[in-house]
């Protein structure tokens, strides 16, 4: 039966994330962007909150319940609302834990998951995106070939968060029998992490190119999931990105709304002018529209039914809407929106990334 109300438990998760976003992420966001760095205290508090451990089931040392994409998108919207860049840093280990849960064998889960459920934050990451204008997640150029009992991986990756400090990198590559993901441990010969990338947005989180030259990993480094499991992982990535986009859009909308109610022009508040008021009402409608598309896609994913169409459409809708909304937020502030004293330009830069981001399977 159709229902738009999260469970009490989900509502609690959402509220917890909302306070973390408001009290910890947002106040640190501007400085983190300017300094290209996530403060240690934020990493610690995110860890204390259980952002990673909650994705790991109890038998493996975490305290996560059954994985739920719906709960995941509720959480991601709030974190995106707080700060996208720092959220991506804090959530990076989930790029390994979530795929393990989707596609890993019990042995693989037992071996790797407890590593990320310890006393403190352990960096981990995934490498999907490749540095080419026509990058296509469904046709990777990175390849893995069977040689003896091992796999040999070759290719170029980029936009890999925390690659320089990651304990393990989950590398996506094409094989003779379809796309696969391989756990590559830190220090494996043939892996070269390049200089930190300089991007337009998400500046606080360190991203790197990763060069893979005949990287040899054992057979059991390959996640055992089949093609269908792999596709669902990509679906999860898309809906997660879309959820973050809802959060960023909402942040920009609220900022612009509050500004418009305080800024005076022609003897009244600019929010009292239809030109501004209607921009704001459109933003509000679009934020709800994108959120509902995200919820529906996540629900579909959780139901076990094919969800590629819903997740794909939600991602495209949300990345476009987030861009339009953040752009309009800058516009509402006029010249002030262009100045880095205000947050809206940061959200516009971050929102531009959503169409490019891929491979963020974190729900």
């Amino acid at each position: 039966m159709v229902n738009f109300k999260p469970t009490d438990e989900q509502e609690l998760v959402r509220q917890t994330m909302a306070s973390f976003a408001r009290e910890v992420l947002r106040p640190a966001a501007r400085e983190a962007d300017e300094k290209n760095d996530v403060p240690e205290t934020v990493v610690r508090r995110g860890w204390e909150l259980g952002l990673v451990q909650s994705s790991i089931p109890e038998p493996f040392g975490g305290y996560g319940d059954a994985r739920s994409a719906v709960t995941g998108v509720l959480l991601l919207e709030e974190l995106g609302y707080g700060d996208l860049s720092m959220a991506l840093h804090l959530l990076a280990p989930r790029l390994v834990t979530i795929p393990l849960l989707f596609c890993g064998s019990e042995g693989q889960q037992k071996r790797w998951l407890p590593r990320f459920a310890g006393e403190q934050f352990v960096a981990a990451t995934a490498a999907l995106t490749e540095p080419r204008w026509d990058f296509d997640a469904t046709a990777l150029t990175t390849r893995a070939e069977r040689r003896g009992g091992d796999w040999i991986i070759t290719g170029e990756k980029c936009l890999v968060p925390l690659a320089a400090t990651a304990d393990v990198i989950l590398v996506y590559a094409e094989t003779a029998d379809g796309k696969a993901a391989f756990i590559v441990e830190r220090g494996t010969p043939g892996v070269t992490v390049g200089e930190r990338e300089r991007n337009m947005g998400i500046k606080a989180v360190a991203t790197h190119p990763v060069h893979l030259a005949d990287v040899r990993v054992p057979a059991d480094a390959r996640l055992s999931g089949d093609r269908a499991a792999m596709e669902r992982l990509i679906d999860a990535s898309r809906v997660g990105i879309a959820a973050l986009a809802v959060g960023v859009a909402r942040a920009a909308f609220e900022y612009a709304r509050d500004y418009a109610k305080e800024r005076r022009a022609f003897g009244m508040f600019i929010a009292q002018k239809q030109a501004i008021a209607f921009m704001l009402s459109n933003m509000a409608i679009e934020i709800d529209a994108m959120r509902l598309l995200v919820w529906e896609a996540a629900w579909k994913l959780d139901s076990g039914a094919p969800a590629t169409r819903e997740c794909y459409l939600a991602k495209h809708y949300a990345s476009q809407a987030a861009l339009t909304i953040t752009d309009n937020a800058v516009q509402v502030l006029g010249g002030h929106g262009y100045i880095r004293d205000h947050m809206v330009e940061l959200w516009l830069r971050n929102a531009r990334g959503f169409a490019t981001f891929d491979g963020l399977a974190i729900v």
Binding site: A271, S281, D288, L292
Partner: protein, 404 residues
């Protein structure tokens, strides 16, 4: 718990009404678009008998316990009917908007007196008359007057754009709910709604409009010349309050009707989208979900955009209906749904005509008709702009004085 699966009840009803739309509406859709002002009596009578005069899809009355699905099911059903044909859907005999006003603001005695008739006998319509030649969206500027004369009210004025006005006022034993002012100086507070029975002396249909679309549905001009209605036909209190609460109460009926209009819009949009998808499929073109965006054709991009927009509108609509079913105030969400759906289907149907080129533009197919039909949803039951205004006031916390 967040859930997007329709209940079994709703799914069954959806299936049933879809069959009706496909078998009884589609085959006559073009004909009654071309033969404007003629009524498909066979179809109307059949639906009247089928539905027992209830708004189709209303389902059960609100249950005493547990959540109701009434409004949601209504939206699901109306999407199907409008998928069949929006003009025919609008012309279906039932208690309609007039009945909604009676249900919302009438006393138990009035409900019995005015609504019981819809459960049997010959097909009947009830219409709502608000708009005037000099005022549309600004319904507080109504010029039609109601003056008390003993046991009666005397109505004078002209109403336009009254949906099913001809059927309600002259062609059935229905009624028209007329908005009039009892005290012009009081502004909104002086506006009251009166039930005028079909055939009441002094009420005349003077014109039935020629329209861009929804041609199977009549849109009437009603003139009231010293039209006497019994005193107890006024909905709500005859007192003129100091506040505008009464007016707000009347406006609140829109909270229920806007999701329904949005659902109807979505049905038209889906008709166009389904047709385009089927046509492409016949020619071996499948929409590829999941591939990298730079490899998509322009056609695929357009189609996916239409599809996502329509789904977004549907979810906003379902949410507004679901809130109503769960006793939550939904003025904001109802206006969001209506604003989004009206605009989205206007664009979708226009794009659909474009995508199929000369075939889309031809009157041999229904695409051009759907485009004409869709546009009304961006206008009636609060224009796009009025609904944007309502949303804006809500999110900004502004009164109508602070944002106009």
């Amino acid at each position: 718990m967040i859930d997007f699966e329709l209940s079994e009840n709703a799914t069954n009803q959806q299936r049933m009404i879809h069959a009706l739309a496909e078998q009884a509406m589609r085959p006559i859709a073009r004909e009654y678009d071309e033969r404007e002002h003629e009524k498909p009596w066979d179809f109307l009578t059949m639906v009247w008998q089928l539905s027992g005069g209830n708004p189709i899809g209303g389902g059960e009355k609100r249950p005493k316990e547990g959540p109701s699905e009434r409004n949601l099911m209504m939206c699901v059903s109306i999407e199907e009917l409008s998928w069949g044909d929006a003009g025919l859907y609008l012309s279906i005999p039932n208690s309609g908007l007039g009945g909604a006003a009676v249900a919302a603001a009438g006393t138990p005695e009035q409900k019995e007196r005015f609504l019981a008739r819809f459960s049997g006998g010959k097909p009947k319509w009830a219409a709502m008359a608000i708009t005037e030649p000099g005022c549309g969206s600004d319904s507080s500027a109504i010029q039609t007057t109601a003056v008390r004369d003993g046991d009666h009210w005397i109505l004078n004025g002209t109403k336009i754009f009254c949906t099913s006005g001809l059927m309600a006022a002259e062609k059935s034993e229905g009624f028209v709910v007329v908005w009039a002012t009892v005290d012009k100086a009081a502004g909104r507070a002086g506006i009251k709604a009166f039930v005028v029975e079909a055939g009441t002396p002094g009420m005349y249909v003077t014109k039935v409009e020629n329209k861009l679309g929804i041609r199977a549905s009549d849109t009437a001009t009603l003139v009231f010349e010293d039209c006497r209605v019994p005193h107890n036909n006024i909905l709500g209190s005859p007192e003129v309050p100091k506040t505008t609460e009464g007016f707000k109460g009347v406006m609140a009926t829109f909270d229920a009707t806007r999701p329904i209009v949005a659902a109807s819009a979505i049905g038209v949009g889906r008709a166009a989208l389904d047709f385009v998808r089927d046509t492409l499929k016949e020619h071996g073109i499948e929409i590829r979900y999941g591939v990298s965006t730079h490899r998509l054709t322009a056609l695929e991009r357009d189609f996916m955009e239409m599809e996502a927009q329509l789904e977004a509108a549907r979810l906003l609509t379902w949410r507004a209906a679901w809130m109503m079913d769960n006793g939550l105030r939904n003025s904001l969400e109802a206006s969001m749904a209506k604003a989004k759906a009206g605009l989205v289907v206007t664009h979708i149907t226009q794009k659909a005509v474009e995508l199929l080129g000369p075939l889309g533009y031809s009157r041999t197919l229904l695409l051009e008709k759907w485009m004409r039909d869709a546009k009304i949803n961006d206008i009636f039951e609060g224009t796009q702009q009025i609904n944007q205004m309502i949303v804006a006031r809500r999110i900004l916390g502004y009164s109508s004085k602070e944002l106009s």
